[in-house]
Amino acid sequence: MSDAAFGAGSAPSAPPAAEPRLALEDVRRDAHAVIEAIETVIDGKRAQIELALTVLLAEGHLLLEDVPGVGKTMLARALARATGGSVHRIQFTPDLLPADITGVSVFNQGLRDFEFKPGPIFANLVIGDEINRASPKTQSALLESMEERQVTVDGHSHPLPDPFVVIATQNPIEMQGTFALPEAQRDRFMARISMGYPDAAAEIAMLRQRATGSPLDALDAVVDLPRLRAMIASVRQVYVSPAIESYAVAIAAASRVDPELRLGASPRATLQLVRAAKARAALDGRDFVVPDDLDDLAVAVIAHRLLAARGATGADGEDPSAEIVRRIVARTAVPLGVAERA
C-alpha cells in the first residue's frame, strides 16, 4: 500500500463527458468482484461492504459508528486494497493538530524554498480513527478537506487524490474526552453505518483465517484506480427521473416537519441521497434509480444528520433518528410519474 499510488485524477467538477465510462453491466460486475474480494477478508458484513462501496462510487464519505475491534479499519483497508487505492490511517487524539493531517510546508535547504510535505490525508482512502477525540479545530481541518477535496497550505492549493474517501470512525459509547461532531460536520458524511458484531459463524471463520496470518495480505486489487474512476464516472450517468427527484424531496421535506425531529434533512442530504441511490442502482446494474434505492439508503444517508426531539427514543437504545427515518420513508407516497396535467 504505497502512498505514491494516489493519483491526481480529474477534479470532481470536471465535465463527465471527458471521463472514460463503462457500461453499467461492467460496473456491476466489477463492483461485485470488489465486494466478493472484500468478503474474503470480512465475513458476514456484505451490507456494510456494499454500502461502503456505494459511498465510494458516489464520491461521498463514510461515518462508521461502532465499538472498537469490529473491523472498521479492516473494511477501509480492504476496500482500498481491492480497488487499488492508497490508504492512510489517522489516529485522532486531543493533541492532534490540523497540520498533522493536511501536511506542512518545510524549508528545503537544497531548493532554498518551502516545500509542501503532504499529510496523511493525501490518500484515496483515509481512515480517521476516533475522529471525535480530536479538538474541533482539527476536526474542521479534516472536514474542510473532505468537502473541497483539496488542501490549501500557505496559499497553495494541493488537490487530494481521486477518488478520495474519508472513512471516519466514532466510538459511540466512550464519552470522556471526546468532542462529538456537531450536526454541521456530520452533515458532510454521505452515510453513517455501524459495523455490528459478526455472527457466530462469521466470528469462527475469522478465528480460523487469522490463525495463519492477515488475510489482507492475500487480497489483490480487483480493479485498478483508472478503472475505479471510470466506474465512478459511470455512476454519475445513472438516470434520475423526475419522479425519483420528487420522492427524494418529499422524504427530506417530511423530515423537516416531523414533530419528533428538531432538525430535519438538509438539501445536502437530499443531494447525497440521490447520489448514493445512483451508485446503488449501478451496483445493481441499472442505469436508472428506482424508489427502492432511496428507501434502502435513507436511514444510512439521512439519520445521522437529524436531531431527534427530546424524549424520542429508539428501539433497543438505538438512535431514534434511524427509526424516525424509517417511519418517514414508510409513510411517503411513492410517485410513479409526475403529473403533467395542464
Binding site: Q48, D199, R286, A315, R326, V334, L336
Partner: protein, 816 residues
C-alpha cells in the same frame, strides 16, 4: 421504446433488475423492506382494513337500532320501510363519496335522495313525476308530520305504525344515517358517527323506560364496535368504546331504573286537542287496552262521552271550549232542550278509568253531578262534557249521577228544531253553522236521502239508516290509504263517493248532513258501552280502547241532544240498540216506529251488530276479522309499492360498485396503454385490485417492494406480477422513451392477483370493490403526489432494527 417492447427490453438488458426482482433481491429486498417499513401481518389478517367496512357496519348498526324501535311500534312492516330509507341514503352517500370526492356533496345528495324517497313513498301524487317535490308536497308532508306528531302524543306504545308515525321514523332514519355517515366515513370520526345511531337506540328507553330490546341494543353496540374498529386514530377508538359501553349499559340496565313515564297508555281521543283525528289511530291500535270499567245502578251498559265537538270549521270538529266554566262538578246544569214531558230516571254510574291518559272525563249523557273526581275540572253547560287542563283521567274512580231518558216515539216525532233566530236565542247557532263552501254533493245527498221525510226525527232516522245501509262499509284503513282520513268537508264528499270509512266519517257526515237539513248537530267522541265483565265485579262493563267511538248527536226540541248511530257495526262492538234515540231507552222508539225504523240494525248489518251482553270477549267477530283482513291487504299494498322501489334501489346499489369498478379499470388500462401517467395508472389499478381483495397495497410501497412482499407471503414469485413491476419501473423511472404498457401485461398481472383468491372472496371483490372507497377511488391522484402519502399506515417498525445488519444474502443470479 414502444409499448410492446417494454418487457422485452427489460428482459434483455435489465437482467439485473429482473434477477433482482425474481431472486437476488427476494431475500435482501424483502428483508430490507421489512426493516425499513412497519412489519405487516399476513394477507388474511389485513382483511379487516376492508374499506366498505365503515358503511356496512354503520348500516348494520342502523338496522339494529331501528329494529330496536319495535318496542314502540307494532308489527314489522314499518321496519322494512324505514330500513329501506336508511339503506337508500347510505348507498347514495357512499356512492357519492367514491364518485365525487367533494366533502359536503355526499350528505347533501343523500339528503336529496332521502327527500325524493320520502316523496315517492308518502306523497307521490303531489310530486312532479312522483319524485320531484312541489309546494303541495310540502303541505302534504307537513300534514303527515302533524299527524305523526299527534300519533306520538296520543298513542300508547307499542303504537300502531300509522302513516305519519312511520313517516317520522323514516325521516329520523334518514337524518341519523346521513349524520352518522358524514361523521364516521366523511370525517373519519367513527366514534362520533356512532352517536346518532345511539340516539335511535335510546329512544325506546326515553319514551317507555324499561322497554328497550336488550338483544338489539347489544347487536347495535356490536355493530358500532365493528364500525370504530375500522382503522382510525386511537383516541377515537377509546372514546367510541366508552360511548358504546355507556350506551349499552344505559339502554339495557338504565332503562329499568328510569321511573315510569305518565305518558304510557295515553289515548288520543282522550287527550288530543282535536280528539277525532287520533281516534282512528286508537282504533287501529290492534291490541286494545282496557280503558274504562263501570257499573250502573240500572245494570244496563251506557255510552260514555268524552268530548263533544260542537264547532265545525269545514276542516275539523272542535269542542266549544269557550263556553266551559270552572267549578265543582257536584251540580251540573240541566241538559239543554229536555222538557219535563220526557220520562227520566235518575241513575248512578261508578267509573274506574284504567291505565289510559287523557284530559276528558268519560261520563254518560246527561250527567247531573259527579263525585270523587277531584278538583280542577271545567265543564260545558251546553254539552256536559268535563275536561281539565292539568288533570289526568288515568286511574281515577268516581261516580256520576245521570238521567236515563225515555222519550216516546210520539215525543220524538213531534219534536221540532229551532230555526235561525230561535237557534240563535237558544245558543245553538254554532251547532247549525256550516261553512260557505259545502260541496254540493253533501246537500244534494242529504235532500235526496231525507228530504222527503216530514219531521226532523224521521229525517235523522233516514240519514242514519241510509248510512247504515248496504251502500256503506266499515273500514278503519280505507280512508287512510286513500288519503281522506279526517272530518273535513272534502273528506265527507270523498267519503260519500267511496262509501267506506269508520265512525268518524259516519258521524261527521251525518252531522253535516243534519245541519244541511236544519237540524242542530254535533259529533261526540267517547266509548261504546263495552262488554260485560262479571270478573271485574257484579254488573261490571269494560270499555277498551277498541270501544272508542264517535257518533252524532242531533238536537230535537223537547228531547234535547239525541244520540244517533250511523256507523255500521264496527269491530267487536255492536253499535247500539236498534234505532235508539236515547242512551238508555232503545226499545221504546223501535217499537213504535214501524217497519222502517224497527228493523234497522238487524237487517242492515246483522253480523256485526250484536248486543254487548252477547259478546264473548274471547272470540273475534267476523267483522273484526274482516277489518283485520282489510287492514292487512291495504297495508301490504302500500308496502308492496315501497318494497318494489326499495328493491330496485337495492339491486342498483348492488350493481353500481361493480359497474363503477369495471369502468375505472377500463379507464386505467386505457391510460396505461399510452402516457402520460401510464405507469401510475397501471400500478394504481394493480393496487386497487389488491385492495378489492381486502388486502393492503399502500401507495407508500414501491412496486418491487410490493412484489417482494407478495412473493414472501405466497412463498413463490409470480412471473406475471414481476413482469409488470419491471415494466412499470422502467416506464416510471427510466429516461423518457417508452410511452405505455402492453395492456396484456397489465391484465396478466391483475389476473394473477385475482386468481389466488378463493371464489367467494373473488365475488366479494367484484361486487363490493373496497378500492372504490379508499384513496384509490375515482378521485385518487394518479401520480402518487409526493408528500401526500400519509395514509395512516401503522407506524411502529419492530423488526430488523438496523437494515444493514441483515445477515442473509441470496446469491446473485448472475456472475460477473
Amino acid at each position: 421504446m414502444s409499448v410492446r417492447e417494454a418487457p422485452a427490453r427489460a428482459r434483455a438488458t435489465q437482467s439485473g433488475v429482473l434477477g433482482g426482482v425474481t431472486s437476488g433481491r427476494a431475500g435482501r429486498g424483502g428483508a430490507r423492506r421489512a426493516g425499513a417499513r412497519p412489519a405487516r401481518g399476513s394477507w388474511r389478517a389485513r382483511r379487516g382494513a376492508w374499506r366498505w367496512s365503515p358503511a356496512l357496519w354503520l348500516l348494520a348498526a342502523q338496522l339494529c337500532a331501528l329494529g330496536g324501535l319495535h318496542v314502540l311500534l307494532r308489527e314489522s312492516a314499518w321496519w322494512f320501510v324505514v330500513a329501506g330509507y336508511a339503506l337508500l341514503v347510505l348507498v347514495v352517500a357512499t356512492l357519492t363519496r367514491l364518485l365525487v370526492p367533494v366533502p359536503l356533496l355526499a350528505p347533501v345528495l343523500a339528503a336529496a335522495a332521502g327527500l325524493g324517497g320520502l316523496t315517492v313513498g308518502f306523497a307521490a301524487d303531489t310530486a312532479v313525476g312522483g319524485l320531484v317535490p312541489t309546494g303541495e308536497t310540502w303541505d302534504r308532508m307537513r300534514e303527515i308530520v302533524d299527524s305523526g306528531l299527534r300519533s306520538i302524543a296520543t298513542q300508547t306504545s307499542p303504537a300502531a305504525p300509522e302513516f305519519g308515525l312511520v313517516f317520522l321514523v323514516a325521516i329520523g332514519a334518514c337524518a341519523t344515517t346521513i349524520l352518522a355517515e358524514s361523521l364516521a366515513v366523511g370525517m373519519r370520526l367513527p366514534a362520533l358517527g356512532a352517536l346518532p345511531v345511539l340516539a335511535l337506540l335510546v329512544i325506546p328507553v326515553v319514551i317507555q323506560p324499561g322497554s328497550s330490546d336488550g338483544l338489539l341494543a347489544l347487536l347495535t353496540a356490536a355493530a358500532l364496535l365493528g364500525l370504530i374498529r375500522v382503522p382510525h386514530p386511537p383516541t377515537s377508538r377509546a372514546l367510541a368504546l366508552g360511548l358504546a359501553m355507556l350506551t349499552l349499559v344505559g339502554a339495557v340496565v338504565g332503562g329499568a331504573l328510569i321511573p315510569q313515564s305518565d305518558e304510557a297508555g295515553r289515548i288520543g281521543t282522550a287527550s288530543s286537542a282535536n280528539p277525532i283525528i287520533a281516534l282512528g289511530a286508537d282504533l287501529r291500535r290492534g291490541d286494545p287496552l282496557p280503558a274504562v270499567a263501570y257499573t250502573t245502578t240500572s245494570g244496563e251498559p251506557v255510552y260514555l262521552r268524552l268530548a263533544s265537538l260542537d264547532t265545525f270549521t269545514g276542516s275539523s270538529w272542535t269542542p266549544a271550549l269557550a263556553g266551559y266554566q270552572d267549578g265543582p262538578l257536584s251540580r251540573l246544569s240541566a241538559p239543554v232542550g229536555l222538557s219535563g214531558a220526557v220520562d227520566t230516571t235518575a241513575q248512578r254510574i261508578r267509573v274506574h278509568v284504567g291505565q289510559i291518559s287523557g284530559r276528558w272525563l268519560p261520563v254518560p249523557y246527561p250527567t247531573t253531578a259527579i263525585a270523587g273526581a277531584g278538583d280542577g275540572w271545567r265543564w260545558g253547560p251546553g254539552d256536559l262534557s268535563i275536561v281539565s287542563r292539568d288533570n289526568d283521567i288515568r286511574d281515577r274512580e268516581y261516580t256520576a249521577d245521570y238521567l236515563e231518558l225515555a222519550p216516546t216515539a210520539e215525543q220524538l216525532r213531534a219534536a221540532t228544531v229551532p230555526s235561525g233566530d230561535e237557534a240563535e236565542a237558544a245558543g245553538l247557532s254554532a251547532q247549525l253553522a256550516l261553512p260557505d263552501d259545502v260541496p254540493a254533493v253533501i246537500a244534494e245527498t242529504a235532500q235526496r236521502v231525507a228530504g222527503g221525510e216530514s219531521t226532523p226525527y224521521e229525517q235523522a232516522l233516514a240519514l242514519q239508516n241510509w248510512l247504515r245501509g248496504p251502500d256503506f262499509t266499515y273500514s278503519i284503513d280505507a280512508p287512510v290509504e286513500q288519503g281522506y282520513d279526517g272530518t273535513g268537508l272534502e273528506v265527507i264528499a270523498r267519503f260519500l263517493e267511496v262509501r267506506s270509512g269508520y265512525c268518524v266519517h259516519f258521524a261527521s257526515t251525518m252531522a253535516v248532513m243534519a245541519r244541511e237539513l236544519g237540524i242542530p248537530s254535533r259529533v261526540v267522541v267517547g266509548f261504546q258501552p263495552g262488554t260485560p265483565r262479571p270478573d271485574l265485579g257484579e254488573g261490571a262493563f269494560l270499555a277498551t280502547t277498541d270501544d272508542l267511538h264517535a257518533w252524532p248527536e242531533l238536537y230535537l226540541e223537547g228531547v234535547g241532544w239525541t244520540r244517533f248511530e250511523p256507523t255500521p257495526g264496527r269491530g267487536e262492538l255492536p253499535p247500539d240498540p236498534p234505532l235508539s234515540t236515547d242512551v238508555t231507552a232503545p226499545q221504546v222508539p223501535a217499537d213504535d216506529l214501524g217497519p222502517d225504523a224497527a228493523q234497522p240494525p238487524a237487517p242492515v248489518d246483522p253480523a256485526p251488530v250484536r248486543d254487548p251482553s252477547d259478546v264473548d270477549p274471547g272470540t273475534p267477530s267476523a267483522a273484526d276479522a274482516a277489518a283485520d283482513d282489510g287492514l292487512d291487504a291495504a297495508r301490504s299494498g302500500t308496502l308492496r309499492t315501497l318494497a318494489l322501489v326499495l328493491g330496485t334501489v337495492l339491486v342498483l346499489a348492488a350493481v353500481t360498485p361493480f359497474a363503477a369498478r369495471r369502468v375505472l379499470r377500463a379507464r386505467r388500462l386505457r391510460r396505461a396503454a399510452r402516457g402520460p401517467g401510464a405507469a401510475a395508472a397501471a400500478w394504481t389499478e394493480l393496487r386497487a385490485t389488491v385492495v378489492d381483495a381486502g388486502e393492503d397495497a399502500p401507495d407508500t410501497e414501491t412496486p418491487r417492494a410490493f412484489a417482494d412482499r407478495l412473493a414472501e407471503e405466497r412463498g413463490e414469485r409470480d412471473p406475471r406480477v414481476d413482469a409488470l413491476v419491471v415494466a412499470v419501473e422502467s416506464l416510471a423511472y427510466r429516461p423518457p422513451g417508452s410511452l405505455g404498457l402492453d395492456p396484456a401485461l397489465v391484465r396478466a398481472a391483475l389476473a394473477a392477483l385475482e386468481a389466488r383468491l378463493p371464489p367467494l372472496a373473488r365475488v366479494r371483490a367484484a361486487v363490493l370493490p373496497a378500492s372504490l372507497l379508499g384513496s384509490i377511488g375515482f378521485g385518487a391522484p394518479e401520480f402518487g403526489a409526493p408528500g401526500s402519502g400519509a395514509t395512516g399506515v401503522g407506524a411502529s417498525p419492530t423488526t430488523n432494527a438496523e437494515p444493514w445488519s441483515v445477515a442473509t444474502h441470496a446469491p446473485a443470479t448472475e456472475g460477473p
